[in-house]
Subunit: 506 residues, 2 copies
Amino acid sequence: MEKSRRELNRRQFLKKTAGGVASLTLLGSLPTRVWGAPKRLPNFVFILIDDLGWRDLSCYGSTLYETPAIDELAQQGVLFRQAYASFPRCVPSRYSIMTGKYPARYGVPGLHSDLPAEEFTVAEALKQAGYATFFAGKWHLAKENDPEYPYPDKQGFDVNIGGSSAGSVVSHFFPYGGVKKTLRGKKRVIKLPGLEKGKPGEYLTDRLTDATVKFIRQHRDKPFFVYLSHYAVHVPLQAKKPYVDRYVHKLELLPKPSWPPYIREGVGWTKMLQDNPVYAGMIQSVDDSVARIMQTLRELGLENNTIIIFTSDNGGLSTRGTRAYKGKHALATSNFPLRAGKGWCYEGGIRVPLIVKWPGVTKPGTDTDAIVLGADFYPTILQMAGLPLIPKQHLDGISFVPVLRGEEATARHVAFWHSPVGRPWSTGDENASVIRVDDYKLIDWYDKGKLELYNLDMDPGERIDLSDSMPEKRDELYRKLKAWRKEVGAYMAKGKAGKRKKRRAE
Amino acid sequence: MEKSRRELNRRQFLKKTAGGVASLTLLGSLPTRVWGAPKRLPNFVFILIDDLGWRDLSCYGSTLYETPAIDELAQQGVLFRQAYASFPRCVPSRYSIMTGKYPARYGVPGLHSDLPAEEFTVAEALKQAGYATFFAGKWHLAKENDPEYPYPDKQGFDVNIGGSSAGSVVSHFFPYGGVKKTLRGKKRVIKLPGLEKGKPGEYLTDRLTDATVKFIRQHRDKPFFVYLSHYAVHVPLQAKKPYVDRYVHKLELLPKPSWPPYIREGVGWTKMLQDNPVYAGMIQSVDDSVARIMQTLRELGLENNTIIIFTSDNGGLSTRGTRAYKGKHALATSNFPLRAGKGWCYEGGIRVPLIVKWPGVTKPGTDTDAIVLGADFYPTILQMAGLPLIPKQHLDGISFVPVLRGEEATARHVAFWHSPVGRPWSTGDENASVIRVDDYKLIDWYDKGKLELYNLDMDPGERIDLSDSMPEKRDELYRKLKAWRKEVGAYMAKGKAGKRKKRRAE
C-alpha cells in the first residue's frame, strides 16, 4: 500500500499542476484567439453504450440487429474497425476514458475500484475551457457518500442525471433503482440521482435521451460537452414489447445457421449466435436515442458544429464461466468472429464499435483500421476543440486527430491491457496481460505461465497461436510487456482467486 | 491379400456386366433417339490441373496469380466453393475421377497404387457411346510394361500423349522426361509417350495445349471427350522467364502483409503466403492453355455444344514435414485461409477449385456451396451426355447435374476421405479418416486416437475444435465414419510408418 499511496500523492500534485497549467495557458493558446476570428468551439456529444459488442450494429455486420440511425452516423463520419476499450470491463474502461490513462497505472481493478476526486478529468478540462458539461446515465466510478470518489457533478460535469456508484439498474423500466439481488444472492440498493421520479412504463434509454435533448436545446448558444452514458445494453435484458415482438418475428424469418449455439471457452462457454430478441430490442432503443439526438442537432442548426462520438466500454456479454453456467447468467450477444467477449482480453472483450463524426474534417462514409484506445479520447477531444493538451494528465492517451484527418499512418502502434482480477466463475476469463504491436498481439496468461501470440490481420479470431511458430517475435513482445507492467506498476494478483496476495509488478 | 483378390474378382465381374449393360442399353436409352430429334451429344473438355490449390485463381481470391481466361470461364459457368478431391494426393484422387469410387474401396493408397485394367472408366463409357476420346498429360495410374495397370490408351482413350507411370516430369521444358532424382537420392527414368521429340525451350503446358487444340480441330464433327491433365503446377517449379519476371515485379508492388511466412502444422510447417513468382508463372501458362482452348471452341463454332470442366486433383503444395523441412522441399503456394495443403485431410489438402460451364444449362456467373466430390464426375458426365448411369461401376459418385441446373438442395450431404499412408517426413501429414455431413466435419487421427470436429460454415479454416463442445455430434459422426470404413474395407495401417502391418478395417 505504501507505493499506492505515493501514487496518489503524485496524482494530487498532477491534479493541481495539470489543471493549473490548463487554465493558465488556455486563453492564450486557443486558435480562436490566435487567429483573430471568433470561431465557436465545437460541441461534443459523446455516447457511450454499456457492453455493446463489436458486431452489435448493422454497420458492423450484424444481420439481426437494426441500427439505421447509427448506420447513418457512420455514413456521415468515420467507422473504426480496430478501436479498443482500455479494459474488457466497465469500471477500468470508464476510468481510462475520463483520465486518459491505462487502468493498470492506477491499479484498477485490484488495488482500486473507482475514480478519485483528484484526477483531472476530460470533463474538467472542457469545463475550464468554458464548456457547458452534461452527464447522463451510468457512472460506476464513485463510492456512495465518499467525497474522495465522487459522482460526476464533482468530476467536471455541470449536470448529472443518473450517475452514481451503480453499475447497472434494477430495471430499465421505471422505477429504475431500488433493491437489486446480485448473482450471489446479496441485496444492494441502487440509487440513481435525478431519476427518482418518473412515469410507470417509462423506458430508461428514452428517459436519458429526453434529458440529453433538453440539455442540448437549452445550451444551443454555447459550446457543450454531452456525455450520454446509457445503462443499456447491460443486463438486466429488458426491452419495449413491440421491439421484442419485432425481433421474435424477424428471428423466425432469418435463415438458421448450422452453427453450434455455444462453444467451449476456457472453463466456460462462448455464445456463437446473435439470437436474443430482447437484446435486439434494447439496441433498437439505443438507435432511437441516436436518431433523436441527430434530429435535435439538425433542428437547432448545430449539425455542422457538433462532433459526435459513439462507442462502447467493452465487448458484448457472450461468455459464461463455472458458476454462471448453471443457468444464472443470461447471455446477450455474440462477438463472433471475434473470440470470447466481455471480461476477456481476446478481441471479443476489448474491441468495440467506434464512430466519429467531425463535420468538415472526417470524410463521410469512410472506415479505418487505425488502432485507437479508450485512453485516447481525452487528448483527441482536447485537440479537436483546439485546446492545449495536458500530457501529465492523459499520460497514456494519444490524440487520433491525424487519423480523423485521414492520416492513418500516424495512428497508435502499441497498446496494452492488463486484467489482474479475472472472473472464472462469472464471464469465465482468467488473469492476463496483453501487448499489441501493429498486427501482433501477445497474451500473457501469467497465472498459468502461458503465452499466446496472434497476428490479427491474418487471424482476427485469435485461433492460430504463433508462439511456437515465431519465438523471436513472442519473446520481443513479452519483454516489452514486462517492461510496461513494471513502468506502470501493474497490480499482479498472486495465488488463487480469492486468496490473492496483492503486489505490484517488479 | 485374400480379401483384396476377391475384390478384384468382383471388379472383373463388374467390368464385364457394367460395360455390357452400358453398351446394351445405350442405343435404346439415349434422349437423342427417344425424342426423335437427332441432337448431337455434347463435347467435353475436362481440364485437370496437378496440385492447383483452392485459392490459386484470381476468381478464388488470389491477389498474386492472374487467371483472366479461367475467370472468364467462371463468368460463363458455375464456380463451386466447396468442391473436393476424393483424396489429398494425386493417385487416389485420379483413381476416383476415372472410376467414380472412393479410393478407400480399392485400398489406394496402401494396398494398391494404380488403376487396374478391369475397371470400367468414364473414358471407356464415353468411348462405347461413340465419343472420340483424348488424353494428354499426367496419368500416374499405370505400372510400366504391366498390362494389368495400363496406360490411358488401354483405359478408354483413343489418344494418349504423355500419360504414363510418371507422377511428375523431370523438367517442364523440353526434354520433359529423362532421369529424375528423387528426394531420397534414388534415380528413376521418366518416359512420356508421344513427347519424346520436341524443340529446345518448348514448354510442356503449351505443348499439351497444342496437342489438345489439334485434336479438337480434327474432331470438330463428332462428339469428343478431351481429358487434358496438365503436369503443371506440380513440382519441379519452372515457368517461362517473361512470366517469372512479371511476377517478380508484381510482388515488389503488392503490399507486404504482416503475416508470418510459415506457421507450425503438426510435425512441420505450413506456408502462409502466395509469394512464389515461378509458381505464379506456371499458373499463368495454365491460364493461357484455357484461353486457347476456349478460343478454339469459339472459332470452330463448338462453344455452345461443349461442356468445360476445370478442376484440380488435390490442394496446393504448402506444407512440409520433418525431413523435407531441411531445405529439400520447395513450397509452391498457400491455401490459407484453408488449413494446411496437399497431403492433409484439412480443407487445404482436399478442397479444390471447380468450374463447370454447361452451355444452356448452367447460369453464367453464379457460384454454389454444394458439396461435390471427385468421384461424382463420372455419373455427372454420363448424365450430362444423356447416357445411362452405371451404378455398379461409379459406386460412390453422385451426379451433380441437379446442382448444375440450379437445384443446390439436391446436392451431396455426406462425403468421406481416408488417408492411411501419411507422409510426416514429406508433407507433414499423418494417417486420418474424415467424414463430412453438411457443415460438420470429423477428423479421426486414428493413429493418435484423437478426434477433431469442425463446423465449416462457421470456421472454414478448421481452428475451432468442437469435439468437446458437441460430444453428441462428434460421436454420431464417428459412428458413421467407422461404419463406412468397414463397408468399404478401408486399409488401416497399424504400427509405425514403414513397419506397418497391413489390414482392412473391421
